[in-house]
């Protein structure tokens, strides 16, 4: 009986570690993380990165992978380019949203646009280091052996409609390495950033679609 109890306690403690590979615990020093992130954003004028996006659809018990490239240039120029399995580019430049879908350039639907702007606002403020000033989220600071992790829970109802939580993983250099978006539908999206280049020269033409 006692052995069973010890065994089950052991399994409860060990299984999460085996399953997830790394243990998440509250962040030891949030102040130095915040100041490190602020320093990183001050010194970073551009980011170029490949990304792999994995969408998990609970109802269909299926996952779909897409790939592409991301370009960011200070202060607010952004280009998301999906290349596989479809071609789709969204560029944000001086407050304008441009979309190129299979060669056709159009403007975004107002509501979908709102969501896009919300998501990009999150990404840009994360890169700028301003995210923690946002009143749109509550924050939980955690860490694993490899990453600093920030869990963001939306406070406003329009955002809650789309997103339950956003979990951002930061590399030791304070750049974002992974973003997890958990939805009320229990579907989730994980974006992993690879081959990051900081402060590389990114031509203006990438942020103009024609």
């Amino acid at each position: 009986m006692k052995l069973n109890k010890i065994l089950s306690t052991f399994l409860i403690l060990v299984i999460p570690v085996l399953c997830f590979g790394q243990v998440m615990k509250p962040m030891d020093d949030t102040l130095s993380f915040k100041s490190g992130l602020e320093k990183f954003s001050k010194n970073t004028n551009s980011i170029q990165s490949d990304f792999v996006q994995e969408k998990k659809l609970k109802m269909l018990n299926d996952k779909v992978i897409s790939k592409g490239e991301l370009y960011f240039r200070k202060e607010d120029k952004l280009r998301w380019e999906y290349q596989d399995p479809y071609s789709y580019i969204v560029a944000l430049n001086n407050g304008k949203v441009m979309l190129k879908d299979e060669g056709k350039i159009t403007t975004y639907d107002a509501n979908a646009n709102k969501l896009f702007i919300e998501l990009n606002d999150i990404l840009i403020t994360c890169i700028n280091g301003n995210i923690f000033r946002s009143k749109k989220f509550s924050f939980r600071f955690m860490e694993t052996e490899k990453n600093k992790v920030v869990e963001m829970t939306p406070l406003n109802s329009s955002m809650k409609n789309f997103i339950d939580k956003i979990i951002m993983y930061f590399d030791p250099d304070f750049s974002v390495s992974k973003v997890e978006m958990l939805e009320p539908s229990k579907n989730s999206t994980v974006i992993i950033f690879k081959n990051k280049k900081l402060n590389a020269e990114i031509p203006e033409s990438l942020f103009i679609l024609n």
Binding site: Q53, L60, V64, V90, Y108, F116, F162, N187
Partner: protein, 220 residues
């Protein structure tokens, strides 16, 4: 004195009703043994993988890009998820003979007329996968058989090409009004490569192009 208006009313009602009856239902024959359910079945019954369609919705010169995931999730049910191109879920639907149910619908799509429209379109597309109703034949030639289905509020015509062995177009009518025109690009026995849906009365067009093909893509 009172009889004249009554006769007049009957006459008007008769003229009104016959003018509302779609022309298409005026020369129907039983489909007989030439009709097989597979002729109106478009999607694979494979339950292991989703079909993915890149979808572009054009409404009054506004464009909205999205992805549609469709999969047979059990013996009697198809499930569908609509997401933005970025992957955020906009709505989910489960479709079976018992009903078409939408859930997890984001607030700005949660409008009855819009969900009714989606249900209408998916009922037309999944007819051969979910239902066993026998049509009548509107017209028949060596190249083309037009099957006529009578639904609760609408009638639908399925244009079956004998040469290609598939339905190339569906027209749906409410009374005499054309409600939807669906064009299907398909190499049987595979699921459609492209689907184009037009709602003439609403200035709405939906274009779907298949991205991911399930390993077992055969419909039959």
């Amino acid at each position: 004195m009172q009889k004249f208006p009554k006769v007049f009313l009957y006459l008007i009602s008769f003229c009104f009703l016959s003018s509302c009856t779609p022309k298409v239902s005026q020369s129907l024959k039983p489909a007989g043994e030439n009709f097989r359910q597979e002729q109106v079945r478009f999607f694979t019954e494979d339950t292991s993988e989703s079909m993915v369609y890149k979808t572009n919705l054009e409404y009054r010169n506004q464009n909205f890009s999205s992805l549609v995931y469709l999969k047979k999730t059990d013996d009697h049910t198809f499930s569908m998820v609509l997401t933005t191109a970025f992957g955020n879920t906009m709505l989910e639907g489960t479709f079976s003979k018992q009903g078409f149910v939408f859930k997890n619908v984001v607030s700005y799509l949660n409008r009855k007329p819009l969900l009714d429209l989606l249900e209408h379109d998916w009922r037309l597309l999944l007819r051969g996968n979910l239902f066993n109703d026998t049509p009548q034949v509107y017209s028949d030639s060596a190249q083309l058989t037009v099957y006529h289905f009578n639904d609760v509020k609408t009638t639908s015509l399925y244009y079956y090409s004998q040469g290609k062995g598939t339905v190339e177009m569906i027209e749906s009518y409410s009374g005499k009004t054309k409600k939807a025109i669906i064009s299907i690009a398909r190499m049987p026995p595979k699921s459609p490569e492209g689907i184009s849906i037009e709602h003439p009365g609403m200035d709405l067009k939906i274009e779907m192009v298949r991205l991911k093909v399930a390993s077992d893509d055969s419909v039959e």
